[in-house]
Structures are given as structure tokens and as C-alpha cells.
Symmetry: C2
Amino acid sequence: MRVAVLGIGSVGRGVLRMLAEKPELGLVLTAVSDSSSASIDPSGLDPRDVLDRKNLTGRCGEPGLGAGDVLASDVYDVLVELTPTDARTGEPALTHLRTALARGHHVVTSNKGPIAADLAGLEALAAERGVAIRYEATVGGAIPVIHAIRDGLAGNRLGEITGVLNGTCNYILTRMDDEGLTYEQALAEARELGYAEADPSYDVLGIDAAIKLVILANTCWGLSTTLDDVAITGIDGLTADALRLAASQDCTIRLIGEASPTRGLKVAPRVIPRSHPLVIEGTLNAVMLSADMAGEITLMGKGAGSVETASAVIGDLIAIRERGSSGG
Amino acid sequence: MRVAVLGIGSVGRGVLRMLAEKPELGLVLTAVSDSSSASIDPSGLDPRDVLDRKNLTGRCGEPGLGAGDVLASDVYDVLVELTPTDARTGEPALTHLRTALARGHHVVTSNKGPIAADLAGLEALAAERGVAIRYEATVGGAIPVIHAIRDGLAGNRLGEITGVLNGTCNYILTRMDDEGLTYEQALAEARELGYAEADPSYDVLGIDAAIKLVILANTCWGLSTTLDDVAITGIDGLTADALRLAASQDCTIRLIGEASPTRGLKVAPRVIPRSHPLVIEGTLNAVMLSADMAGEITLMGKGAGSVETASAVIGDLIAIRERGSSGG
């Protein structure tokens, strides 16, 4: 199966590494682009060469070429969209995905922006063209939660989703709880370790968790909610005192996303008992799905990371190879 | 899609109830048998009528008919094998599955015996006939762990499986830990609540957990291990003192199954830190999969129950309807 990759950031590098290390998967890279160049070869590119070139020159291919050239080349069965996300508009990824689908190609993405902005529209376009859209990597990193919703729990009606959807916040809260650090101290530590960005607002204000919650809710219930529909409280106002008070009652505080088809979407710090399945440590993520037949199913694992997120992308690519546009 | 059901115990009742309650799934019951009767109607049976008849008369259909008649009727696309399991030989379920596959029908089962006894042989037969064999319900009840291994983590190499695979043992250990009960007291309580059989040896000696571990290992690595390959220690020798000692070190004891392609298969009580993801409460089950790309993924949920296990059976039926024999 021929694969085109847009974007060579952390996830893109992970995907290219895995394509290089796992030739047995039968995934052939035929086109790739970054923000300033592209490389296209219908007979196949060596992902190692692409990574070496990127590391050496800062470009993956020929200057002057770009995502548009990759899209128009049509030398791919699946477009893998991994460009930086824009939480509000989803652009330019949304246009990339629409273009590939309209040209009759399957798409796989780790890009939360376009999926949160217009999942229903993208799925309608995919159905119209008889191709698949898959986005396991947008939520929970390596955790196969979209697979669980669409396949593993097929036939179930889901009543509620709750989850720890942002590893940065979970790390900060874990450290405040374990060591009695202030929010500022824990954030500084997270920055040092590379768990928080220089501008951490996207994570600590709860926006990242809210986008993922939107994607889960729209996947579960076929809704078209957006970021504006989520009631969001971040963790930036949390004091060490609040954590201590929770600890005195054998509880702790975690940033929890909650969604239900009747009660709407909410992201906020919550006091929960220490024995609760969503009390996980460090940068882990967890999602709890409440299903009418299966009961409560919890999935947890690494919510971010280059190769971990690539795992979700690769899983989607294999699903498309094995099932095409069918199979949920 | 036409479905034939063999066996109307707890799981069979759950499946029939769900077929009745969820007509939108498009699963039509055309044949059913219990140990002393069968009912066959190519135009479709009402699952409610079957359950009512079973409750009223102890039989689901006409005396004198049986599983053999259902199998030979060929009025089904998928055979659902839910008869009582025989841990060692897998019979008569193994013959039922082989017969249905040989006749060109898909099969779905919750029956651990035949899957632990001869998964490789059954899969070879299914492949030869171009049909599917699915067995999500054999391990972890409602938890979609086989789906996660085959689909969600597709492309990953799995290095190790660890899990809490028996809810009866986990309940007993939870109660010994929480309340300082002796093994005998906790077992008596589990019996009263219906969590343990009159003869609990299959559960408390670790055999049930070992069979599930065999199924997981053979699924992950294409092995043909059997129950004889598992080093098994049950929980029947555990003292309240051992639990207290563990508690004094902020640990507890759980019956853990562990498998790796290099270090073999083992079921034994293990002292583990309280914060470990496998420390779950009551009758829950959990499985931790260690994957080369995804890292450690943990799934937890209800490991037993009529409707919960039916959820796994229904998920398999939908997968077959959507994908046929393809898709892993």
C-alpha cells in the first residue's frame, strides 16, 4: 500500500522510523512533505533517506515543492496528515484531508484540529468517495480507544465517556500530589523534562483535553459538537492546599473530561478517590467508556510520544489495508 | 446475518436477550440448541420465545433434536458456540466448531476449552474454508482484548502479557486485603454472592486464569501452547498473614498471569505495589500488553457476567458481518 506523509514533526518522524524498521508491514512511502519542501517518487522513497536528509538539511525534499504537490501527485493510496494542529480552524490540515478524500484517497491523521472541527463532514465525503478516514492517533496517543469504540464495543450503546486526556496536566497534578509542589514548581519541572511547551496554555487551560473529548463524543454519538460546546476549567488556578485537602480524604485531583449525550461536555479538575481507575501516574492517559452491554471499560497507556503515536497511525494504515472503507 | 446458537447457559441467555433487545443489529436467530433439545427455523426464531420456552419447560425446543441437527441444518451464516467448557479436551465444543467451519460457516465462541486446545488448527481450517473464527468472549469477559491485540495494536510486536484474568480469585484477594478475612472466609462470601462455584477449584487453583493466558499467548505469538505449558500456583494456600505482610509494605497480593515468548507462561499470586495498574478491585479483570511501538497498554473491565460476555460475542458477530474472514 502506497503512503504519502504530510508533516515531519515528532509524530512524522516516528511514522517514518517505523516504516523503515518494519518493511514487513508492506507500507511503501511514495511522497512526503514538510513546511518548506517535498519529495515524490511513485517507485518508493527510503524513509531512512528522508529522515537523514531532514536531519542534515532541515528539509525532507526539494525546496519549492509542498503539500499541494504531494496531494496532486495521486501516487498514494493513503494520505497521512501529520502537520501542526490548529485547534480552532483545523487548517491547513482540514483542506489537505478534504482534498485527498475528494481525489478518492483514504486518509489517516493524528491531527486533532480538523477532526474536532468537522468529523461529520469528512466522514460524509469519505463515504461518498468510498474511502476511509481514520484518526486513532488524535486521542490518547498509543491507546486504541477509537478502535475500542468502533470495533471492540460494536453493538453497545455508550452512555458516558470519562477520561484523563492530557499527559502534561496529569504530570503536573501527580507531582503536586506526590511531592507537595506548587503548580508553578510542577509546571517548571514539566517544562524541563519536555512534558510542557514553552507556552503551556494549550495544555494547562484544558483546551487539548477538550478537543479530544469533542472527538470522542462525536465518534461515539455521531454528534457535531465543537470546542465551543465544552465547559472548560484548566488546572492553572489549582493550589497546593487544594491537593492537600483532597489527600486528607484519601482522594486526589485530576483533570477529567466527561461527556454524555444528555449532559454535554465538560473538562475540569475533579476530586476523586485514590482507588479510582482514572487515578493514573505521570504522563499516562486513560479513558473510561460506559457501555450498555459491556459495562465500564477502561483503557490506559501512553498519551503522547513519537513512536507511541506512530503506533496508532500504523494501526490505522493496517486497518485500511485489511478492510478498505468497510469495518466501521 | 443468520445466527445459530449452541448452549443456553448464562452467556447464551445474555446473547439471546441482546438479539431480542437490539433488532437494529440485523442478527437473525435461525437455530438454537441446549443439552436436550433444539429449535430450527430458516425464516427466523424469536429469541424471546426461545427464552420463555426455556424458562418454562427447561428446554429451548424439540426434545430429541440437538447440536448435531443445528450444525447439519446449514441455515446459519455464523455458529455461536456457548456450550459448557471442558478445560482439557475442549469437547464437545471443539467438534462443534470444526464441523461448522468444515461446512463453510463462520464461528464465534465464548468457550475457552476448544480455543486453548487447538486455536492453530481451528484457524487453519477457517482459512482453508475462507471463513472467520472469533473468540473475544473467551478472555476477560467484556474487555475487548483480542480486538486490541489483533486490530488496535496491529503492527506492534508484543513482548509480554500480564493480567488479572480470574474475577473469583481477585474478589477473594480483595476481600482478604480490605477486611483481613481468611481465605476460607472470603471464599465462603464469594460463594454466597455467586462469584464462586460450589466446587471452586477451577478458579482458585489458577486453572481458569491459565487457560486464558494460553489463549492470549497463542493469539499474540501464533504459538500452540496448552494448559500443560503453564506453571500454575493457585491462591488456596494464601494466608491472611501474607496479605498483612504485603500491606505493611504498601503492597497487596493478586493472582497474576504472565506470558512472554521467551520466558514462558506462569500463573501465581504476586506481591505488587498498591499503585500498580493491575491492582483492581472485586471481580474486575485487567490485561496489560507490552508493545514495541505503543508501550504498555492496560485494559480493564468486567471479566464475567451474562450480558457483559454477550457484548463480546455480539462484537465478534458484527466484525464478521462487516469484514467477513478478512481484517485479522
